[in-house]
Assembly symmetry: D2
Homo-oligomer: 430 residues x 4
């Protein structure tokens, strides 16, 4: 470390669960807490800890009318224009308690609690022209009428002024009072936020300061991507994780495209700073989108996904309903070698990539992880000459099975492994 | 005419006065009527007839706070969300009378009355969720929360639905009841209305139908430009005039650039359809922008401007304060040859153009207009060989002075005229 | 006509045959003359007259090596760097006679002869540094080493200098001496000729002057498209026809897309100036591309194609091998009503267009043509209210069958016709 | 190092002299050797070692006709189409000896020798269709006729085929035989090599392999920029240095813009891999461009330039004529603290940047370099709080003067220094 990064609230990639992939905009208190309970019982010991309530928690009618977002939704806000959980969906939020009760329960399980917000101030706060705490101005003075999200009409952007900062301070003070540990800020990290802005740098920076001003450690996660690599320095200055693609779903094309994005961002993985490959659409997903299904990924694709996310040190945020975890999916989330690579690996580095295959490595206690990917549509032998590595290889273990690799696959230091279409192998070299 | 164009309310380019160039967003009833009075007395007999009240007439505080548009302005609207004139600025609008009184007075002068509107429905109407006349829906059902103007925050776009049409019908019925003859619709004709729309075609078409449904003839003017030439057919189907550039001001670079735009649009001038070079920033302008001045154009540039607008058959909308008309400017507006070219000329055609000069012609009763422009920065002899024209030339008259051209300037049918820098000559060939 | 267009060598859309669609880069003297013979016998009386030899006639090995264009092909050129027909393919060109013999034979049939050229000067002429006729410079002095075609490596662009003009003069003098009546110039009219040029304006203008300087009337045809509508004025100044799309083939998507292009260009059809929808890929095509086939268009699509090309007044250049003309295709090419619309119609005008249908009209001797198109994928009733037209309708004839339309299809002036998917109806209104 | 980088021929940023900034395309053997002599005598002991002959050394008439590059220049090539030094400019190259003699002399001075090449194969080799060594094909088989440089017409790109590789092998074998230590490849690293290519990846990779195949260590330098950050991984795989901007000259706007580029590329500085800020246009430059001058940079700007290049670890390639080195410029090139930062510093990191200032740091033996830049147009106090650094600061030295910083400038660990407009301060923290 050359300097004291203020963001070092997380030295390792955050691991947790997020409500979006399964529950869309409609998750409820019961669903949050039941998923937290499964995490406590089955996943916590492997390092999983964040329980994140995604978008629209202040919208009482979220998910009605067969749309994800209703135009001009009547959000629940307090007298200062700050969003509050919709009480019909989160009963413990009654009487202005917000997410305090849920956060307390999740903390009692030994877990951490996160929430999603859209950048900005609610249109409803602007209609009502609510006062901004700590200032003598009102919502209309801090809202930017020309800065609107293109896909959700709830908010106006906040102007980069001292009063705008105060508005952000006011909401993060509220989140701190609830005990929030993680905030995913949406509509802020993509490459075309406005026609002439690569991303919402000014609002991200205000949010960074608002977290610092709150006095509580909170992980700052930016969404959606693709983030602009030219702005990596700004991302690292202000945030802990930022999406490197648009929304990721259970579609091979999107998974294959992630390899190019990881290649681009590999030098930007460091303690406190994690380029984010997005949630894991595994197990039972899509329910809240009226498209409930088991993930469309094949088992080989699921291994590929976990192998890439782990060696690249992406945050790991499970998207499927934990209450319906099957054995295979549970195995994906609890493989100790993979999770160790994700949490303890260092310097993820792409060694090779073309249209048919990719090879990655990272360091671990003097040893190495080596991930071999078959990106083609048919079974394929992937070879790698370990003499290219700057190490002496004594032992080779299959990370997924934790068994030593058959010597027949190694010849003079050259590893050759048959990998199924869209599949991956993860190896520990010692 | 191959077909009955429904827009044939104006067979000749509209001529009139518009409040913008001088009064910006702040014009008042007194200023409107005083300008109308001057038009009646000095200009009407030359064909000038429209008096147009430009932007922000429903905003009581327009022009305060040293900005042109105030964020979240509190517009005057009726119970159906329709903008009404701000009574502090337009006293005759009291008691819901709208612009009826002003229109009546202007009609009584033998003139016509026009207004400006932004496309869409006021944000305030959406906040109040006003009912939409003739439907059982309300403002939030017809407003598109993602369709906002990038420079004025007053409105939301209207959705292209039967109920959206009813909203537009309701406002044009109101304008018809006032006696409006001309409507300039803003934020609708430029090439990048939305990231992926070349212009607001759907809303233009709804407005066309709303005018037809109103039962009153109204000229439809679209703003701002540049309009997209690929959409010329749609413009001609729906509108009477549409801007071919962004806002035009008293700047030689903008005037010179207009030549390229006229070249592009020349085939699209026809009865009822007039590509629009924008208002004439002549005489006293800029007052409402806190930048009052006499036009920055030199006299030669002013002649060039009028010559181009007239031979191209652009609408002629004077922008300067008519109460302060000096003799030179009055002369520009009342030259009978120029106005006849504008109103009666046919088939405006560019004969030549390069960086230094341009030549245009148009037909008039078997004769021709010929306009020679010196676009260079120094005096220059412009030559033109009349044998290129498909006519026998017997007599050559200077349109500006109405005198026959000195034969020394003509040799074997080749006209040679010294023209000052940025200047123009207009000739009648018979 | 406001001015004497120097290009008025063709007042009506050229009709003819071009070797490309069938013979690709490989046509021979025998094939040219045999096709001309069929034209003389079967088509001439309907107005077909041009026989055009398309690309690569100076390349002896054209079509070998299974590619359309060979890199660094060894073109046949004369001592002045001018392309000459490859004698192995065009035996009559021996002894430097060029295309004279073929032109004479075609003229003797009462037909006209056309050739294709790439813009520029052969790379081989530059390698040999041939002298430029009428100058004391050589090929390297007039060639622009940075101006190359992106898909055919035979040529360098010619610099816009007096010597460059002389080179173009030298080749058009040669063509005039052969008796060429029509020149299709390639790699010159598309929208991205160079990164920063919308099209090759300077070279087009040199070619225009070279034709004028040659003293022989030649039709100038520019290829490929899409031409840029902003440059329509330049096209009309210099050329007789110019492509409004990229290469057109027997694919419904391309045919459907042509409607949008005709909409854009409709105001630019005038005597001597014909926006060009490209050749007719009808009958037997593709042989020279190693993909011989009968056209993939259905019969309804073929009617649609001919109806659009005819009412729009596109040049008509048959692409199929005339020696293999079947009765249906012959009928398409010899329908007198359609050809009259193409040759004699005036003011082609689109009346309506959406994703499912289009309606066009044009004038003929006080009457009208009306073309109704079903652009959807299923049979559909197309309706049109003739009261929209500015005429009194007394008689309605089906142009394809030349029979009066059943009155059951007309009600109060509203025409309703069932048209098959992708089909068209052409009507004469009198 | 996670893997054995094959490019580790240079672990530190190359330091040397390049003929371009002063001699343009026209440098001669005498000028090369005289500059080498000055380097040996005055600069070698500070680490300067490469003497690089830039573009057009095979062109006998380079620099004549008042242009930098002559069209269709008659390059000197050998029978295999490989460029050879023009003997009139490099007499020692007579009898096919190439650069061997010059390289020997430079090696004898204890220095290293570098050359510039354009990617590709000479057009002249293609005209003559020279054989390709080690194959049975010829130049026309490996040249890509569509791949040409946009500003120099000497070459065609080489196809990515086994025979294309052999051509590159043949030229690098020749360079190895001459004793070349450094190759700057031009027209290969900018972001728009072709319309749809971000850069010439395939040819860079062939060149990488050709160097490996040559058996001689050569530094590979890619030009011009801006290189595309998305392709950083490919750059690092294949090259040692690559330009991160277009050509850099003595213009403050270009120098200021370099800060943004260094910000973007900072994570990509590592042993063997150096993002390249381009040559140092200091001292006497421009002679060969018919614009001889002393650098236009002020002395403060020159310090800023050296400070940024040194802390960022850019390669240092002096561009001015070493024979005319004045004391000030010599001082810039021989400051031991600055050169040590460039050669031995680690992890260059931007700490702050806005329109007015920038702060950078890097590591050195547990200590730190700290560079403070005033990017504004007036004198300005730049402050930096050393508590932001992850170190204990005991001693603060001005790197340029090598004196301890006056304690008046430090208060509680906060450094405040007045820096002139466009100036810089470089500090050593221990």
């Amino acid at each position: 470390m050359l300097f004291k990064n203020k963001n070092l609230v997380v030295l390792k990639p955050p691991m947790g669960w997020n409500s979006w992939d399964c529950f869309a905009a409609n998750v409820t208190e019961v669903e949050l807490l039941e998923n937290a309970k499964v995490m406590e019982e089955k996943l916590k010991k492997f390092g999983w800890e964040y329980v994140v309530c995604d978008i629209q928690w202040s919208e009482p009618l979220a998910g009605t009318e067969n749309v994800t977002y209703r135009d001009f939704a009547d959000l629940t806000i307090d007298e200062y224009g700050r969003q509050m959980p919709a009480v019909n969906r989160f009963p413990s939020a009654a009487d202005g308690k917000g997410f305090k009760d849920i956060a307390d329960k999740i903390h009692a399980m030994g877990l951490k609690f996160g929430i999603h917000i859209m950048r900005g101030i609610p249109r409803k706060a602007v209609e009502l022209n609510c006062p901004v705490i700590g200032t003598d101005v009102r919502a209309r003075d801090v809202a930017d009428p020309f800065s609107i999200c293109q896909w959700n009409g709830d908010m106006y952007g906040v102007k980069d002024t001292p009063e705008g900062q105060k508005y952000y301070d006011s909401i993060f003070a509220l989140y701190a009072s609830w005990g929030v540990d993680f905030v995913k800020v949406d509509d802020i990290a993509h490459e075309h936020l406005y026609p002439d802005h690569p991303y919402g740098e000014a609002e991200v920076h205000m949010i960074r300061k608002a977290i610092d001003n709150s006095g509580r450690d909170m992980v700052l996660s930016l969404s959606p991507g693709p983030a602009v690599i030219e702005k990596a320095w700004q991302m690292e200055r202000d945030a802990n994780m930022w999406r490197i693609t648009d929304d990721f779903w259970d579609d091979w094309k999107l998974l294959k495209a992630m390899f190019e994005r990881c290649e681009v961002w590999q030098k930007h993985v460091s303690p406190g700073c994690f380029p984010d490959c997005d949630m894991l659409p595994l197990g039972r997903i899509g329910t809240g989108f009226r498209a409930g299904r088991d993930t469309n990924f094949t088992r080989d694709e699921q291994k590929t996904l976990m192998t890439l996310w782990c060696i690249f040190k992406s945050p790991l945020m499970m998207g499927g309903d934990l209450r319906e975890l099957d054995e295979f999916t549970l195995g994906l989330l609890t493989n100790e070698n993979l999770i160790r690579a994700n949490q303890e690996g260092a310097h993820p580095t792409e060694l090779a990539r073309d249209d048919d295959h990719a090879v990655w490595t990272s360091e671990i206690d003097g040893g190495r992880y080596l991930a071999l990917f078959n990106l083609s549509d048919s079974e394929k032998e992937i070879t790698f000459d370990t003499s290219e590595l700057d190490m002496q290889v004594n032992k080779i273990t299959d990370a997924w099975t934790n068994k030593e690799i058959n010597q027949a696959n190694i010849n003079n230091g050259v590893i050759k492994i048959e990998i199924p279409a869209h599949g991956a192998e993860m190896i520990v070299l010692q």
